[in-house]
Structures are given as structure tokens and as C-alpha cells.
């Protein structure tokens, strides 16, 4: 399963819900305001860092760049993809769930 999270973890609790209910082995892609969750210096960093063994984490590059985070340090192990990479993930995984 591919899960997308599009909300900032400092504004809403939806990243928590995704991490609680997504099955192990899922891919989790942070898009739109969800990309703030990938910041190594942000308060939510441990939430993602602590689950590296359970999920594969991705973050959408164009959304990072738009927010001035192109060069920001990301949580170790989070992989940056573009829209093409988003499409690939959606194609590889059996289904998509948007956490809104």
C-alpha cells in the first residue's frame, strides 16, 4: 500500500494516524504541507525516524523546494522523489490511501 500524508505534523495529528494504522512494509510519501514532517530539525522527526524499520519513507521534492527546504537536512533514510517517482510508487503498490 502507498500512503500519502499532506498535512504538517505540527498542525494536525494525521501523520500519527497514518503511522498507527498503516501496515508494516507500506510506503509512506509526504506531499504538500506533509513534507515538513521530513525535517531533521523539526519536532516530528522522531516519529518518522523511529519507524524506519517498519515503513519506507519518501518525500516529494517539488514540494520541498517550493517551501525553501531543498537543502534542509531530512530525517535519515527519507528518500526524495519527484512526481514521476510518486507515479512509480502508486504503480508498484497495490493501492493508494490518502490521509487527509
Amino acid at each position: 500500500m502507498l500512503h500519502t500524508v499532506n498535512k504538517s505534523p505540527l498542525d494536525r495529528n494525521v501523520l500519527d494516524s497514518c503511522l498507527r494504522l498503516a501496515a508494516r512494509g507500506s510506503a509512506i510519501l509526504l506531499i504538500e504541507d506533509g513534507v515538513y514532517g521530513a525535517l531533521a530539525g523539526g519536532q516530528a522527526a522522531p516519529k518518522i525516524g523511529g519507524r524506519m524499520g517498519d515503513f519506507r519513507f519518501y518525500v516529494l521534492g517539488p514540494d520541498l523546494a517550493a517551501r525553501g527546504l531543498d537543502d534542509a537536512a531530512l530525517v535519515d533514510g527519507v528518500k526524495v522523489v519527484d512526481y514521476g517517482g510518486f507515479v512509480d510508487l502508486a504503480a508498484e503498490r497495490k493501492a493508494h490511501q490518502a490521509w487527509l
Partner: protein, 129 residues
């Protein structure tokens, strides 16, 4: 392009509807229920999950007269007649809100996050809002 009336699929897919939002503050809960009802006509394998504030959609005793909106909670009771019977509620979400199964307008299966997680992972199409 086929209209919905002409369409009789041979495939049966597992459709999951995920309700995570409270009713009335936004329209997502009501409009999501409209999709579930329509999906019933397609002979698919439909499941509906209520988690996070979505469990509030099922709270008994809703009275919307004072906010001039339509109380749609009785419609959940119609799901059974549409053969939509796989209704799951997350236990952890109920507990965090001080609710129990007795507070809900319909019979549902209350599952732990882990049990729910397994059901959600087995779906073919997930519609959330």
C-alpha cells in the same frame, strides 16, 4: 462512456471507505456516506472504517435543529438494507474520545488498531476524504 445503470462489472474488488472526520464541522462525513450508498449498487466487496474523529459520526442522539443542518446519522441505519455490513470502528479512537460501543447508532465491529490495520492493508481501492 457507460452510464452507471448500464455497467455490470465481472470483477469484484475490495472497496474501503475511510471516515476520519467529525460530522457537521465539515461536509466530508455526509458526502462520503453518499458514495458508500452508491457503491452498494455495484456488487463490490465494501468495507467502511471509522477512526479518529470519524467515530463521532456514529454518536447517538444527534439533534441538528439548532444549527439548521440535516441530521444524517439515521442514514447509517440504512446501510444494512444496502448489504453494506462490514463496518469497523477503531477501539483506540473510541477510547481517546471517552466513547463506548453503546454510544453508537449502529452495530459495528470494534477492532484494535492492529486488527484494523490488517483489514485496511488487504483492500484494492481506498476512498478517503
Amino acid at each position: 462512456m457507460m452510464g452507471e445503470d448500464d455497467f455490470s462489472p465481472d470483477v469484484v474488488k475490495r472497496f474501503l471507505f475511510v471516515n476520519r472526520k467529525a460530522p457537521y464541522g465539515t461536509v466530508y462525513a455526509l458526502e462520503s456516506l453518499e458514495i458508500v450508498l452508491v457503491s452498494a449498487a455495484f456488487d463490490q466487496d465494501v468495507s467502511v472504517v471509522f477512526a479518529d474523529d470519524g467515530v463521532f459520526q456514529l454518536k447517538k442522539g444527534q439533534d441538528t435543529a439548532g444549527i439548521n443542518m440535516k441530521n444524517f446519522s439515521p442514514t447509517f441505519r440504512a446501510l444494512d438494507g444496502y448489504d453494506v455490513e462490514k463496518l469497523y470502528v477503531e477501539k483506540e479512537s473510541l477510547e481517546a474520545r471517552g466513547l463506548t460501543e453503546d454510544d453508537l447508532v449502529i452495530d459495528v465491529e470494534v477492532l484494535s488498531s492492529e486488527e484494523l490495520s490488517r483489514i485496511m492493508a488487504a483492500q484494492d481501492v481506498v476512498i478517503s476524504n
